[in-house]
Amino acid sequence: MNESLINPFSTLSHPTAVQTSLFAGALFAKFDPTGRFIAAARLNGSAEVWDLETRAPIRWYDGHVKTITSIDWSRNSRYLLTSAKDWNVLIWDLSSTCDPPQRHAAIRFDAPVMSASFHPKNSQVILAVLATGEAYVCDLRKQHKSRVELLETIPDEGDEEDIPPRAPMTTARFDPTGKNIFVGTASGYILIFNTRTKTMIARHKISGAGAMKSFDFAKAGRRVVTNSSDRTLRQFILPNYAPYQPISETEQPPFLDVELEPTHRFSDPINKTAWHAMCYSPDGEWLAGGSADPAGHKIYVWDLSNDGQLATALDGGREPLTYLHWHPTKSSLASTTNHGSILIWHNPTPERWGAFAGGFEEVDENVEYEEREDEFDIEDEAVLFERKMKAEEEEVDIDTVVSGSQTSALFGGSGPTPTSAPETHSAGEAGTPVHVASLGMENGNSAADVGDLAGIDVDAAWAEEDPDCDVLSQWKVKVVMDNDAADFY
């Protein structure tokens, strides 16, 4: 709502300065999808939710007995997921008024959980990666109750003996639509699985990347940036993935096997430092990378609309960076230091002193004032009043809400991005070396076509079956009056 007054052109810049730092004792911290909160994972296994409006912690979630490895928010922020090295994934309900808070659900695995996340459309579907290199999709819905391991399809080359062993999975994420799961492996592959069928639909070799460390998606889901053990961030434009079409029960399902060429590579050419984290801006125009530099807190911001040029290097002081997350709507970043502070970066708007005087307008340079012909004419007050009343006849709308985020979302969605052109490629044309295992080229294409026509809604409908209770404005966070902690913070 305030956007139109502060920034009438609603362009999103990158943050430039630290606005505040929260002494949270955090390993890493993540904004929620509404931007009201930030969740911090602490070394002792507890998680804290901070209210960004009051800059104070409002919920303390104690449940893990070992270090938290990842945190995720459900789509409207009602549920918070924490995964930890104690083999557990816990889910917390922010609307619960229990004191002390009780966990909403718990999932136990047979090994330390390295990361876990909610399905973007339904928080009852959870993806988890274990320290043993396995990835699981857990479905907590009554009629789907299951835990399925994601298994890479090994192309059947006829030779039974030298089937290569499956490479351990190092990271996994849902894409923003939730239809596909992206899995990174230790051998530098990205595997794409269909969320509903849990079958592999594509495999991308990323040459020279080494083990994949993490992914981040631009909001529309057509671009992905990867972080890997070769200390390089790569941005890819994703091909269209045809949903898996069962042809016969016995035959091995086909998948797209394509080597992807990055559109951009980001690395530190001098120090060759690795990256701890990277994050797209909400409109996908900027990419922020958190450097693993042990001697300082450095965030690099690249301008993707300007061919990936380095826009700025932000210096956050001497405490090394451990994590980085971009605010879901604003030009704001949260970076975590290894001493546990969360730095909130923002793009300060200069104080406009002219706003304090009514009817006053600031001009950038001197303007020659031209007197209007009728400026000092004495007008009949009755005529003036009449004219004013006439102007007030116009109807006003006092109820319809036009929110700033809606307009900016529209703007972001349709805004021209330099990378939008190749996004119209269909599956068959994507990349250059197309090789569809165990099926001819033609069959692969026809499968893709059928998928485009009929397959899309199946996945969406599957995800929205038995919806969770995370519906906006149907739950609220109760304000807990805190009399003891008042002086501590």
Binding site: D51, E53, A357, E392, S403
Partner: protein, 331 residues
């Protein structure tokens, strides 16, 4: 003193006759009729507010008391006591669990509806606190007072987050917009200021040519306009983006007191309601700016007006010669 509730004679002859003649011309005119008179306050009632779910009506006044009434039947429920000076304004949290009150004892008190008692006192203002309001999430409170500042409070911790040296005269009204990103304030210096809630920066100042004392201001439900009452007996609807006054409502009398105006949304249409110093309530059509109905009955200046969140019900209260809260129904 025992609080009591009286059912007024519903067919007050002269009143009914006037209403009839007024409403005969158009079916969409509001037709509010007095149904309940609530008495119990011992001094002027300065503020009336319905809880967000409409179940409770809170009233507060110069007698340092807050009284809770049933939101539709007007039955007396409870008195909340704690302030050492008169109360100027009260506000409900959006979930109806808490009530905030601003007092001349320079404090704001937060009352829990669960426990029906005071649970927090916000200390910081250096003079009378005159106005108070919650934001959407009810984690922040904004207040203004005779120390000419606007303060934003973290309620959970009871600490001030921001102190805005907002005006050069007592601040008479302050409130958040519907999503909590903006704050509007007005003061006896005649200025209406729009603030960015997060940074505390002034974004806009609205001023009328004659600079009359501005006594109340609030956002429209969609926050695209602000409704401002000034002590030149005028209520104006401002488009704050263009700094233009888009509607002017006149006819009532307001020269001395800070009298708030409210929006009324009924199946019959949208109206503006305000009290008046001629002991009446005036109801205007939002669009045509015509006075559609005048409610008579109070025996003193009508200082406080509140509109039920979903029923066609207006509550009003007056100064010390009256001391009653009246509920007017149009159903």
């Amino acid at each position: 003193m025992q609080s009591q509730q009286t059912q007024s004679s519903q067919n007050n002859d002269s009143e009914a006759a006037r209403q009839e003649s007024a409403s005969s011309s158009s079916s969409s005119k509001p037709d509010f009729k007095l149904r309940f008179v609530l008495s119990g306050h011992k001094s002027s009632v300065s503020s009336l507010k319905f809880s967000p779910d409409g179940s409770l009506l809170a009233s507060a006044g110069a007698d340092k008391l807050i009284k809770l009434w049933n939101g539709t039947t007007g039955e007396f429920i409870q008195t909340l006591q704690g302030h050492t000076e008169g109360i100027s304004d009260i506000a409900w949290a959006t979930d109806g669990e808490y009530l905030a009150s601003a007092s001349d004892d320079k404090t704001i008190k937060i009352w829990s509806m669960e426990e029906r008692s005071e649970i927090k006192t916000l200390v910081g203002h250096t003079n009378f606190v005159f106005c108070v309001n919650y934001n959407l999430h009810s984690n922040l409170l904004v207040s203004g007072g005779f120390d000419e500042t606007v303060r934003i409070w973290d309620i959970a911790r009871g600490k001030p987050l921001k102190v805005l040296p907002a005006h050069s005269d007592p601040v008479t009204a302050v409130s958040f917009n519907h999503d909590g990103t903006l704050v509007v304030s007005c003061a006896m210096d005649g200025l209406i200021r729009i603030w960015d809630a997060e940074s505390g920066q002034c974004l806009k100042t609205l001023v009328d040519d004659d600079n009359p004392i501005c006594s109340h201001v609030k956002f429209t439900p969609n926050s695209r306009f602000v409704l401002a009452s000034t002590q030149d007996s005028t209520i104006r609807l401002w488009n704050y983006q263009t700094s233009r006054c888009v509607k002017t409502y006149t006819g009532h009398m307001n020269r001395t007191y800070c009298i708030p105006a409210c929006f009324v949304t009924t199946p019959k249409g949208k109206f503006i309601v305000s009290g008046s110093e001629d002991h009446k309530l005036y109801i205007w059509d939002l669009q045509t700016r015509q006075v559609l109905q005048v409610l008579e009955g109070h025996r003193d200046t009508v200082l406080a007006v509140a509109v039920h969140p979903f029923r066609n019900l207006i509550a009003s209260a007056g100064m010390e010669k009256d001391l009653t809260v009246r509920l007017w129904f149009d159903e």
